[in-house]
Point group: C2
Chain length 528, copies 2
């Protein structure tokens, strides 16, 4: 029997602005070290010029006061120099926030000529130190380039500036009965240009595919200032190399995405969610196979969380929401979302699927949302996990792809490693404050083979870092996985690309970087 | 009221091997001119070496007899030198059919060193002269690289050699309750590597998206012989530039695709098809909007055919199948396919949708397939159009993307143009044998904004060609469309890229071509 959720509090949940929430927690206990002090081996490149008064005069000649931010201004420069996890901190003395593509073109052309390094920055919700400077790079913020350009309600093709916030794009589309084909925790802060530049994956990839499929056109400014405008409204266009693909996931290293044309999806008329408990990971895989086959075109999410991640979320929510299944007593939980054009079909499919799964002994317990509030509350148990892991102190985050059968083994292996190094307590219930690590949790997107491995810690220490790296990457390599499923490379993974890419691929990437950015001014010290 | 189909003959239809069928028709009336005579302005590049006996000795040293085809061999070289539409004919004296990737690597390395030009060739079902030589280029056939490598029934990830025929891949997948996320008329001959290299679109794109989304990994041999093996099994992988994307749709100009890893889709348990008549194009657009909203996740095809294309198909089928709606008396027809995991849900959605469409006066007449045979027969009225256009003599084919509202206007404009030039009869029913052109027809994929403009002709003449080009391309440019939606550039559209791409995009493409193939040996005279 499936019971319905015991909902204790209605909270008016908004999943937006995760970055801000998490930052509030993180600032409780430590200030951010400069990246250059944290990684002393990293040296500022002498190729790059130091910003001088001539440069400032030039920028002042092409930009208004509101488009330039300096240390003397009232707005806090550290909001641009620090990442939201507060692991990286740059020392930029200049943020440029141009209001037009033409101004971005002038800026890059000048920086390229003068060899001034530049970090393009969207919503700064990056998780790998990709969106903040390492040294004194100029920050090129897209915040002021934030207009929706056009929308065609027949085709669903949506065009906007890079700086449009994902949630705003989605709200606009909802009014036209469409939705953005991408959803992620940071939606209240992250920008479309940043999503494209990092090839963001998120919660809807299972159903709507990756941005490599849904981006129809881009407007990009190259490092030399040239504007490449390919804002096509065409689903099919086979007229030569698909150049835009190179910029999807390039993390601003070969140009700046300034606009995007995106194929959006009709808003499903009915959505439902079920939250299930399972006793082992093997059953998760069996349940996933069954869901693919039976829920098929209606399956829009198949997310998993382990017990530990639910424990941390429970602590973080502080009783704001009762756990959907009474007690958090099972090793694994699954959140299944179905969506489609007909509520009764949706519900019938989901119920028949769940009954079958109970009969086949795949699930131990479960609940189905009865209304929109319950649905949002169930999602909260999945969407709050990232910030819950952080709320205990700090968190080391790894975002990897692994073959499905091996997906969870990395969590077990990481805990075993931390215990063997004496860095965490052997008993998961014994939160020893003298041990720097609290424990590894796993959650993520089964449908995408994407594990988020989070190691909650009381503090960030060199010992933990050395225990984790390259251990995690070597593990992933041994299983032929990817060391970055959706978070990208940034600064954090620059030196670990070799665990996922062959020497010839790395060489090809370096060649491309050099081809488009021969002076190396774009987002230096990172990526490749 | 919707009536059911009046099915006259059960024919055991197979939609495979379209190329062969069409070739039989085309050979009836003329032999193929050499491309070099047809386009005298095109000159063989002096950079390329002429094949000599040393070269042959080298190839004989690395390949077996069965892997080399010369004019003295019994197998007909013209099958490799001519395209299936018989519009292009090369003069290659050597076809290499290596059985391993390593041999392809050796071949390309040698050709690159010796400056021997190479045309990679898959199933040779190309429509723009891309898969056959222009002069004496060596043909590198993928026919012997045709193994399915692996398949994971849980994730649906399928890996195979480039030479696997699309229909064989699909048959294999069907046994595992999966399907290839791509379907097209040439499926019985075209190969996976060719599909990837031309970014084939076809009939399932509306539902399953483009190959830029479903290709997870590729194995490619670069012009210098280096093997880039990225046959990933990962849905998410953000570890650097997505290099494989460059080779999707590159038409063999910067390397040869030798293997692909592809995300396939679960086979829908239920499929149904409806064939509808509409009185104007505007109603097609309204019906499409309604279908997107109401059939949503179940909509898997929304194809349109005009009256003229149905007339030609009727003549071509010679009474083998009765027209689905009694008489072909309406200006437009639509084929809608719904597919999903539950037959009764599928049928209920489709029927409710059609009832609404009748009430709203969007459709005049229609029929729903009652069984698999009727379903296949209805599809035949769409899938047979291309060869039916050809069966009257010859056909000029244009494959363009246009904004939906302008999609059909190109057909009207083309007919008006041919009439104004005295090349076709003013009265569509008067098939004047003294006029070289019979008339323009339009059909295609509404969901993709993709029009197939076919101009049926009694013979190919310079006058028709001059009336059509650059007229068609200028028209497409004026509407911001694409001069090649899914067929690619090949030889036919090399000089017309400028109608769809900006000077800077063309320069970027040329730079990429030069970057990967500095000697220009790969598929020369074409593409960019």
């Amino acid at each position: 029997m499936l019971k319905t959720i015991n909902q204790s509090i209605r909270t008016g949940i908004s999943f937006s602005s995760k970055g801000i929430v998490a930052r509030t927690h993180a600032t409780r206990f430590y200030s951010v070290k400069l990246t250059s002090s944290k990684y002393p081996a990293l040296k500022r490149s002498e190729v790059f010029k130091q910003l001088n008064s001539d440069d400032l005069r030039y920028f002042e000649s092409i930009l208004t006061k509101a488009e330039i931010l300096r240390p003397s201004d009232s707005e806090n420069l550290s909001l641009y120099n620090e990442d939201w996890m507060r692991k990286y901190k740059g020392q930029s003395k200049l943020v440029l926030k141009p209001k037009s593509v033409e101004k971005i073109s002038l800026i890059l052309k000048y920086c390229n000529q003068e060899k001034l390094a530049v970090v393009p920055q969207g919503g700064n919700t990056d998780l790998v130190g990709g969106s903040v400077p390492v040294f004194d790079e100029i920050i090129l913020s897209l915040n002021n380039l934030n207009k929706i350009r056009e929308f065609d309600p027949l085709t669903g093709i949506f065009k906007c500036d890079a700086g449009v916030i994902l949630e705003n794009a989605n709200t606009f589309l909802n009014k036209h009965d469409y939705m953005f084909p991408l959803d992620l925790g940071a939606k209240g802060s992250c920008q479309i240009g940043g999503c494209v530049s990092t090839n963001a994956g998120g919660l809807r990839l299972l159903r709507y595919g990756s941005l490599h499929g849904s981006v129809l056109g881009l407007e990009v400014v190259l490092p030399n200032g040239e504007i490449v405008s390919s804002m096509h409204s065409l689903r099919k266009d086979n007229t030569g190399y698909d150049l835009k693909q190179l910029f999807i996931g390039a993390e601003g290293t070969i140009g700046v995405v300034t606009g995007a044309s995106i194929l959006t999806a009709p808003n499903p008329k009915a959505v439902n969610v079920s939250f299930l408990a399972l006793e082992d990971f093997d059953k998760i895989l069996k349940l996933y196979g069954k869901a693919k086959s039976e829920l098929c075109e209606n399956l829009s999410a198949f997310e998993f969380m382990d017990k530990e991640s639910m424990t941390l979320t429970d602590i973080h929510l502080k009783g704001e929401l009762a756990f959907p299944l009474g007690e958090n007593e099972h090793p694994f939980y699954i959140l299944i979302e179905v969506s489609g054009s007909n509520k009764s079909h949706n519900d019938a499919k989901l119920e028949s699927f769940l009954e079958g799964a109970m009969e086949e002994d795949l699930i131990i317990d479960g609940t189905i949302a009865q209304d929109e509030t319950e649905l949002q509350n169930l999602w909260k148990w999945r969407e709050t996990v990232p910030e819950s892991c952080l709320s205990q102190g700090g968190v080391y985050k790894y975002d990897v792809s692994l073959p499905l059968k091996d997906l969870y083994s990395l969590v077990d292996a990481t805990n075993a490693r931390l215990i063997s190094k004496g860095l965490m307590s052997e008993n998961p219930n014994d939160k020893d404050p003298n041990k720097p690590a609290i424990g590894a949790t796993g959650y993520g997107h089964i449908g995408d083979g994407n594990l988020h491995l989070n190691i909650a810690v009381n503090e960030y220490t060199k010992e933990i870092e050395e225990a984790l790296e390259p251990f995690v990457y070597e593990f992933v390599q041994s299983k032929k996985g990817s060391i970055s499923a959706e978070h990208g490379l940034g600064l954090q993974k620059k030196n670990y690309v070799k665990y996922s890419r062959s020497p010839i691929e790395i060489q090809m990437m370096k060649d491309l970087k050099h081809h488009y950015d021969p002076n190396g001014i774009m987002n230096p010290y990172k990526y490749i």
